[in-house]
């Protein structure tokens, strides 16, 4: 045991390096192998243990600088840290309570906007068209403040927002018509893209930032659901207690609690995702792993049922809309699984499973397209059919290319990043399509 001191030193060094979030345990192994080789070479030239260790450590470089370099390459590992800690020391001046105050103010603001809308806007259709316009500016505003957007980006967000607001309110929609319904459904997608531009701090060209926004969206859904569940339990209990003493909470719930709680929860959830991601961090990959096989089973069952029914022309219109929703859900699951995956890991069983999911979704999509085309051939065009057909084609393209790239990755022909890049590059297409549905469909179809 003549090298006991050296071993102890290397052990201490390992412990020190392991505390760096950007350097994974496998990287520490790799660095340790390097360190030991260097030490052995120094010893061969006649240095003693301690001298050799010191030279090797010095040659390895300043640990802060090296760790920064690792962080630059593996920014995903730092994701939870980036938002908890200010990116540069100049930011540290803002006390944490200020952010909380701003978030709460924005949450109350979103609630007030919705309440005002409920009070003053006449007609359910008009309100439904404006709901996104009332809530999402507060969320977008939070990111605009948080990311300190420059004037150009702010204008770049405000102009499309204004166009959308004008179009949604100035178009003479026929009450209860399908173009109005389509606008109500598609406007939030465009607004979400604008929120995304604010989220990525105007760096919308960056694939990495886009993927961060996809992660953020997934986490937001989880947090919002958790908040909603908690809120439901609380109101339920309050309801029960008040009912026992003879007070009826329902009008208060309808008129005050829900209009404030739902949009407020959205803003607060966004802040929570920003501030405390690591709480849910480990749940995300687990959720995708649980739901991928379940979704495959669901898709296969749906396929079997559709095949058994036969005669696709008679398929109910409601079913087609539902199936569209299922496919969008599959896509979200896929995107979320991809965003949660370590892009350096070699192909595994889960990647095969993902390919099966894509194949099943493609099969369902093909059936849907056939059904839609049959309906169109038989009953002619309608805004609903064209919107559904467009969405289906977009989904088909994304799924087909995803499947193709996954096959390439499984066969070791392509890196996983190719798959990631395809997803992030394709995402804006959906927002563009949504914009077309909102802006162009109503005039084309006479606002029917």
């Amino acid at each position: 045991m003549e090298h006991a001191e050296l071993e102890a030193q290397i052990d201490r060094w390992r412990g020190y390096v392991q505390r760096r979030q950007a350097i994974s345990p496998a990287d520490v192994d790799e660095l340790e192998d390097h360190l030991r080789e260097q030490v052995a070479d120094r010893q061969a030239t006649g240095l003693d243990d301690e001298e050799a260790f010191l030279v090797a450590i010095k040659r390895l470089g300043n640990l802060d600088a090296v760790s920064r370099e690792f962080a630059r390459e593996h920014s995903d590992r730092l994701w939870k840290q980036l938002v908890l800690m200010p990116e540069d020391p100049a930011d540290a001046g803002a006390p944490p309570w200020r952010e909380l105050a701003i978030v709460l103010a924005l949450a109350v603001g979103a609630g007030l906007a919705v309440k005002a809308g409920l009070t003053w806007i006449e007609g359910g259709g008009v309100l439904a068209r404006n709901l996104g316009l009332l809530v999402l500016p507060f969320l977008t505003g939070y990111f605009a403040w948080k990311r300190r957007l420059n004037a150009r980006v702010v204008v770049g967000i405000l102009v499309p927002f204004a166009v959308l607001a004008v179009v949604l309110n100035a178009y003479p929609f026929a009450s209860g018509g399908s173009t109005e319904m389509l606008a109500v459904l598609h406007a939030p997608v465009v607004l979400w893209l604008l929120a995304g531009i604010a989220y990525v701090g105007g760096r919308w060209r960056s694939d990495g930032r886009r993927m961060d926004f996809a992660r953020f969206t997934g986490e937001l859904v989880i947090y919002f659901t958790l908040l909603a569940l908690g809120g439901a339990v609380l109101t339920g209990l309050t309801f029960a207690v008040l009912q026992l003493v003879g007070a009826d909470l329902e009008p208060v719930l309808e008129n005050w609690i829900l209009p404030f709680a739902v949009p407020g929860a959205l803003v607060v959830a966004a802040w929570l995702v920003e501030a405390k991601q690591n709480v849910v961090e480990n749940i995300a990959p687990v959720l995708t792993r649980v739901f991928t096989p379940l979704t495959i089973a669901m898709l296969l069952a749906v396929l079997a049922v559709l095949a058994a029914v036969g005669g696709l022309a008679e398929v109910d219109r409601g079913l087609l809309i539902l199936m569209d929703a299922i496919l969008v859900l599959v896509l979200c699951l896929l995107l979320y699984a991809i965003s949660a995956r370590n892009s350096l890991a070699p192909p595994g069983v889960f990647d095969v499973l993902q390919l099966v999911l894509v194949a099943a979704a493609l099969a369902v999509d093909a059936v849907m397209l056939t059904a839609m085309l049959t309906r169109i051939a038989e009953f002619g065009f309608s805004p609903n059919k064209i919107a559904a057909l467009g969405l289906n084609l977009l989904l088909l393209i994304q799924l087909a290319r995803t499947g193709w790239l996954t096959v390439g990755f499984l066969r070791g022909r392509r890196p996983f990043t190719a798959l990631e890049r395809w997803q992030t590059r394709y995402l804006p297409v959906y927002a563009l399509w949504a914009a077309v549905v909102v802006l162009a469909f109503p005039p084309i179809f006479g606002f029917a």
Binding site: A26, D27, D29, E30, L31, E32, D33, H34, R36, E37, Q38, R59, L60, G61, N62, L63, A65, V66, E69, F70, R72, E73, H74, S343, L344, R414, P415, T417, A418
Partner: protein
């Protein structure tokens, strides 16, 4: 002689790809090879090699696999991929252009104009 840090950074990718195109290696051996090739003139900060290798791996230029060293330690080996060979050929062309331009600049600069003395 100390080589400027930007120059080291710019030449690191083609150097690593070129070294790996001669055969699979692990990190420390790559650095040793860099030292030999430059006659000890290029001293990298050792730790910086690994983020670079990981980036090349992410880009699909190299692939890695874990093995064991003679001493029985875990050791990560890197191998160049077909995409890496393409990137290497591309880099080589770029560097040839740069080197040719520099060669001409060196050539003209070797004859210092006589007026310089009067300026000092």
């Amino acid at each position: 002689m100390r080589i400027d840090k930007d120059l080291v950074a710019a030449s690191a990718t083609p150097l690593v790809l070129g070294i790996l195109s001669d055969g699979d290696l692990y990190g420390y051996a790559i650095l040793k090879r860099v030292g030999e090739l430059s006659g000890g003139g290029m001293q990298w900060t050792d730790g910086m090699l690994y983020p670079l290798l990981h980036r090349l791996e992410r880009l699909g230029y190299v692939s890695s696999s874990w093995g064991t060293s003679e001493a029985g330690r875990r050791r990560k080996h890197y191998a160049i991929t077909p995409a890496g060979r393409e990137a290497f050929a591309d880099r080589q062309e770029q560097w040839t252009v740069v080197a040719e331009a520099l060669r001409q600049v060196w050539h003209t600069a070797q004859r210092p104009p006589a007026v310089v003395q009067g300026w000092a």
